[in-house]
Symmetry: C2
Subunit: 215 residues, 2 copies
């Protein structure tokens, strides 16, 4: 019982900090997208492709969450984009307090802020960080059964991006089963099918993001 | 401070239960392999291929850990193998208590017991369940940088199985970088490169497993 209470308190405390973050984002005119997916699902590549499409149209900033290393933030900063690395040092998800601390050392700008969560399809879905939208990033090689096995993240996401669609010819991916799984959890969820390698589907995804901006 | 203490107590309590599980496995002559990898890394397909190779040579049992659904245990039971599904109902990893309860409703047999952990490259590495060996399962599409970003599971594993090697021609996977990452964390770790689709590398992996048996 003790454990359950503590977990509840932690989540309550996290939610309060997330609300504070949200107010800070709103005040700065920043729309925040929490990108959640497994290791290697293609989150960073998708952000890089999106930067190419949108950097001349709106402000873009990126916070990278990783357990270790700063490979991803370095890659993004190399494109001339404000990028901040959070190393969670073992923690399997970002939480609102990490984002609060990160944002203190970061000048929020109007436009889009992508927060790439730790590579994990499970735990990040439980922690609000003050985002406007959660997006699930799943790659074709991970398989069409994932909405059935990891329902929480799909049920909480405003959009699902199915990445690496260039690999579709080499993989038994049942699109109908995948879509039915998402629809049963989250009927209004948007689905984008993209390849960051070939650029397929990126225009549609980028246009949708443009429409999410506050200003 | 309170949180840190509690986490330590939980891990201590888990380790004690894991020791009990280990004794039960030893007494039954069961060698237990804890299979850890992201969603869609190919854990179940690898277990199915391994069953084909070894089922006439030694006893095989499987425990499937998933947050939701019993898709995997049904698939494995369909091959005539003892299979038990654990649904963690939201928990992102298996722990020793879950395994203890599962084993009570399961007649342990001499041979190999594969425990497929929840699809997650992070949290399962922190929880001992009484296994003899941890094996990291990573697929080629997840990328060569994963040992650098998720070091714990690679450092604790006796072997790494790189799956979906049939996709190598379509993906920029730098094998040297991957191997260096593993070696720097875990110099004695075995590496198997396999495709459950084509069968490549499965013989070597299966032979290694055969050598792990207690009797």
């Amino acid at each position: 019982m003790m454990e359950i209470k503590l977990v509840k308190n932690i989540l309550d405390a996290n939610d309060r900090l997330a609300e504070d973050n949200k107010k800070a984002f709103e005040a700065a005119g920043t729309t925040v997208i929490n990108m959640i997916g497994s290791p290697g699902s293609g989150k960073t590549s998708l952000i890089l492709r999106t930067i190419e499409k949108l950097k001349d149209k709106c402000g873009i900033q990126v916070i990278e969450g990783d357990i270790a290393s700063s490979i991803d933030a370095q890659t993004i900063a190399g494109k001339g984009i404000d990028a901040l690395q959070i190393n969670t040092e073992g923690e399997c998800h970002l939480d609102a307090n990490m984002i609060r601390q990160a944002v203190r050392s970061f000048e929020l700008k109007p436009g889009l802020l992508f927060i790439e969560n730790v590579g994990n399809l499970v735990c990040p879905a439980e922690f609000e960080i003050g985002e406007d939208f959660k997006v699930t990033v799943l790659s074709v090689p991970e398989g069409h059964d994932k909405p059935y096995k990891y329902p929480l993240v799909f049920s909480k996401s405003t959009a699902v991006v199915l990445t690496k669609c260039d690999l579709m010819p080499y993989i038994d991916f049942e699109m109908d089963t995948f879509i039915s799984g998402i629809r049963s959890l989250n009927p209004n969820c948007r689905l984008f099918v993209v390849s960051s390698k070939t650029g397929e589907g990126i225009d549609e995804w980028a246009s949708w993001l443009e429409g999410l901006r506050r200003r």
